[in-house]
Symmetry: D2
Subunit: 274 residues, 4 copies
């Protein structure tokens, strides 16, 4: 999978890995809908310590299994330097979340790997601070950095955050790094995800990352902003039309055989998967 | 001209009416590019009392002349209740600027007319406050209200304002009023206007209002964010492609003959025009 | 009353003039508590056209009566250029509200008077824009301008606005104009008003304007942020202690006899008062 | 040192530990001025990887030496879970910086210690999110948490951040945790620090943490917002007057002998100190 070329990528998956069955169903549907990567949180940053914190290494194992089944490379969040080695065993791309955009020890540790990184914008980070955070990764020699706009904090309460689509053409002038957009976290509402995803393609984003869930209303986390699997298929078609209108195409899924082996599934850590 | 139907409108013109020649040139080019309305400020709200404040009634007369020549209905800002009668003699649509979104005596006065209104969002107005401001117009019986998103104030300084494109699908659920987008004032930079206009069409806006100028670098006001006349033509084509991708068309210009007579040109006020 | 000298002023009164009896009671108590001016809205800017809009000229007449009874000069909001002449008949000081900070025709009209002006900061106005708005008044020759910080719009929802007390020492370096603080509108909550008023005195403000009401829980508007009359008396004492700690004093009330005659009470307009 | 009682604390020191001599001079002056704790950064979170990142463990050793000389307990930032053990050897209080307020692995690790913690507010964190971050510490059993307001991000550019003093009385209703204020980082300008510190005492803060430097103009970091040593002494006196006006006192420095032994100075790590 190449992010940043002529083809626009669609990355989809649940907010949180809740179990193997729901992840398998989501993976199959995402693949069928034309998604090229699977997202899903095993370690979840939650504002409150009393909220569900994710399945941890077991969630990673589930991701790795569905990765192999569906032929979808995996992107998942790593929250602390000491988790980097573990997450690398299971994931093709390491996500650094908005709250950790200026967690410099994490940036340095991830920068020392050669694994692609998805660097989300902090919710009150200026575009320049975001690029400086990327510089922490690049300075360690990791050049496979993808930026992800996911909304900034403003006074407006009709949406969870205000998606800053102006950032995409601004970044085009300031960096060669690819940029994707997360309309799910930005808006917090399912009915806004589609229109914002199309706007992101029109404004020049290199891809979209959306939350999807087999039964959004019963999701453990972020159900209100998750597309159901039918909506995901419809979104991909609409994205293709807008991509065509701006001279781009949609990235096709890769074959399961072409995915490189990861270390994860061979080890017993996380258990549930072997 | 119908705003809010299946067809997307392009409204273009200079920030400020600087003189007759430049306005005629702009009007011809805008018409040729497929714009369906002419914008241009005669009365200009400026942060400083020492900045150029516009040509006033003379500017209105110039607008009315180019309106007739080019067959472009005119939208221009009215800044105070006592200007309403004057501006109505020259303009097809009255614009209420962002700074005046909560100028209630102005809203009431414009509400008492039956002239279409373009109500810009205040730079820190929530979507709900914006709709309440529209209610001041509607409550007086003026039902031809078009909303215009033009960016909100945030911490980000890379753009003049942060264009809140999420507002468009949010408004779709809360009101039947049409919504257009002003990417020029929002971004403050020419190279951002095109991508944001396309994003606005993709997200579902009913039209775009952009600043254009024959020689942007010598404009009296907002030159940095004005498209030149070639860029305007290119923008219209790109908008048409994106409109098609989301199942819409572009609104065609109307014929000069179909424009209703206004009172303006008959009177001598504003002088320079007769 | 002198605002901007060594002595700190306390201005108090109801959000809205609801009737004569409540205003008389408030006036007496405010005077007894050491307030030196009476505030109260006759014309009210309300987000919704369906909210109570104030008593209008009758409210002005009530203010003028209590002004004479209690010996408290009156400050009240003027919302439109055409109201300026009327409000000047009743009020010692004209208030320009936050929503009208960039209503330039209003600024010019008020600037042409020689009546003191209270210019509130717009809810998203930068300090520089605020000073430029003041310049509209000064440029017309009205030099008696007092600035009023009343909170800016941010992402924080625990308070109605975020009171920007840093603005006071910033303004000290940029202008000679006096600055007062409105902790009632900024916070929106009664229990925050006292602490913020003391902080405003400590940071160097020239005065405080607070909302007070005989029965806050039954106020027509802003009851949740209004002090009751006992709390007002306590606040004045606390302010005096903090003023002393920073080398200032509290301004004493003036005598009723020293107030200049206004035109208002002589005319029948507003009715209820004669 | 007790934070949160009737007495207000003054914490002072350089932004960054630049060397032993400057730190000794600052420590002596801070002690003489009545500061009760020494602040200073050994590990510095910097937006750019190419900025000075602090002296690291050598800086910690310097802090421990001046701690013993001047009788000033030390508070310094810890940026990553793996630094916690090291910093605990040298510091009496662990600071979690604004950028790390939602670094949950760091919060958990610090929560597992029984060392007092200074938890700075994230620059776009709501008050509720800040309290939830504190809950990560409390849930691990560390109950000695002090909150520190340091300004939030808004559109206003006259100050680095907007100090949210309303947060102090809001927190008083929502938590028993003590709250101090950092006017240096909030304002970014020396001349604003004093007025804001007094406002913080007036509004009810339990203390102030300020940056001070022997020669602010030659500081490696944040010189523009650092007080010189004379200004620090003047600030303490002014704070005492305001504290008296609101019924509080200033906390006296403790004796050097009363400080508990820390492990730091005994080890050779960091070198320069033995």
């Amino acid at each position: 999978v190449r992010i940043g070329g002529q083809a626009v990528v669609l990355i989809a998956g649940p907010c949180t890995v809740e179990g193997l069955a729901m992840l398998e169903e989501t993976g199959r549907a995402a693949r069928a809908a034309g998604a090229v990567m699977l997202r899903g949180g095993a370690f979840k940053p939650r504002s409150s310590p009393y909220s569900f914190q994710g399945l941890g290494s077991q969630g990673l194992a589930y991701l790795a299994r569905v990765r192999a089944q569906a032929g979808l490379p995996v992107v998942t969040e790593v929250m602390a330097p000491e988790q980097v080695e573990l997450v690398m065993r299971y994931a093709d791309m390491l996500q650094i979340g908005a709250r950790n955009m200026q967690n410099y020890s994490l940036l340095r540790e991830v920068g020392r790997t050669r694994r692609p990184v998805l660097l989300k914008r902090g919710m009150s980070a200026s575009i320049d601070e975001w690029l400086e955070a990327a510089e922490y990764l690049l300075a360690q020699g990791n050049t496979q950095v993808v930026l992800c706009e996911r909304g900034i904090r403003t006074f407006e309460t009709a949406t969870r955050f205000t998606l800053d689509l102006s950032a995409i053409p601004v970044l085009r002038q300031r960096t060669h790094l690819p940029v994707i957009v997360d309309p799910s976290h930005a808006s917090g509402q399912r009915h806004l995800v589609g229109p914002l995803a199309l706007a992101a393609v029109a404004v020049g984003a290199d891809g979209i990352i959306v939350e999807t869930h087999p039964q959004p209303t019963s999701a453990l986390c972020d159900g209100a902003q998750s597309l159901d699997l039918d909506q995901l298929a419809g979104l991909r078609d609409a994205m293709a039309r807008v991509a065509g209108a701006v001279g781009r195409t949609m990235h096709d899924p890769v074959s399961a055989e072409s995915l490189p082996a990861l270390l994860g599934p061979q080890i017993s850590e996380g258990g549930g998967c072997q």
